[in-house]
Symmetry: C2
Subunit: 213 residues, 2 copies
């Protein structure tokens, strides 16, 4: 059994996977943790420790088989299957997400989109007909959807999240500028460019007028 694997470890796995794919594209068949470290920007010890949570993938004296490790990570991350995803909120941002081409090749496909605006409901975006948000819970249950992308305004986000979770959503990619509380068995990842920018300005303005009273 597992599942006392630290979240920090899991968050690095997609990065390793990406690096391995890049190496494979360069026709590199074998890679050491040192070289994978250079490629992914992680220390070799860290990589070895991270992988050790899941098994033994390397050969002493040689390193890791690039393709085999990529396949293993793909399986570990659950990316050997294709995940249906729903989108809530088809405003400016939601439309951009619907037409964003990068999800599909990675195994995520948006199967339906919902909005509360009657003007938007019924229209088509990227070959998907927008449904009224009132139908979202029913849709989730009937189609066994586990992943939702949230692109609604901050005010409506919390309530909607509660509903989604009720209906069976287990993973939320949240674009609303809030940090919602969700139950332990629900995953949430926030995409928040303003927050990211605000983190960086601290370092830019460090005249750092500190020295406490």
């Amino acid at each position: 059994m597992s599942l006392d694997i630290p979240d920090v470890v899991i968050e690095r796995l997609p990065q390793y996977l990406r690096s391995l794919r890049a190496l494979k594209n360069r026709n590199i068949a074998l890679v050491s943790s040192a070289d994978l470290g250079i490629e992914s920007g992680v220390t070799p010890a860290q990589i070895r420790k991270d992988l050790s949570y899941f098994g033994k993938f390397g050969k002493q004296g040689q390193g890791y088989n690039v393709k085999a490790l990529a396949d293993d990570l793909t399986r570990i991350l659950g990316l050997d299957q294709s995940w249906p995803v729903i989108l809530a909120g088809v405003g400016r941002l939601g439309k951009a997400i619907l037409t964003y081409p990068d999800f599909t090749p990675e195994g995520f496909f948006i199967v339906s989109a919902f909005d509360s605006d009657p003007v938007i409901v019924g229209t088509d975006v990227a070959e998907i007909t927008i449904r009224p948000v009132e139908q979202i819970n029913e849709y989730i249950k009937e189609n066994n959807i586990r992943i939702a992308i949230l692109a609604v305004p901050g005010e409506s986000a919390s309530d909607l999240i509660d509903q989604l979770v009720q209906s069976g959503i287990r993973a939320i990619l949240n674009y609303a500028p809030i940090t919602p509380k969700v139950p332990d068995n629900v995953q949430i990842q926030n995409i928040d460019p303003v927050h990211s920018l605000q983190t960086m300005t601290f370092h830019l303005s460090d005249i750092t007028l500190n020295t406490n009273s």
Copy 2:
């Protein structure tokens, strides 16, 4: 002096700021670390410890003055000034970013945008005329720009980042699906929805076929 303030601490500050603003909107003038904890989803001890890196902001027995603390955090984060930002890459994603309305009220304004495609160069998006990417270094230097948003394809990203850094960029909001290496004095934050989704699927598919060989 300061600047041995952990990054984890700095990353929580914008969250506190947001919570304080929400409290202020509800006309709450005074808040305890316990209540701010509920609002922001951080433990009270963590909040107090975090703030202690920057000074003493509370009153024993009472808590924190909401407005005063919000103002202090705004200053600490360098958000009491307005930051000019440039955008590199005006494709599908870049256009969405240009028309994204949330940066401006938070003190970030996009002053110019650049692209390599001659078809795009010269056109106007959101009242900004797209310039050729060849002029980006000159523009950064002449206008003393410190922050760049990167929305170019993965392949072009690394090289461009090196150029930006050379020209004086100190903070990069990166939408390209790579994890670039930058010098220590340069901040980078990655916005990577696919990575975020891939992190979550691990938890969804935990049949967790582990138990090592």
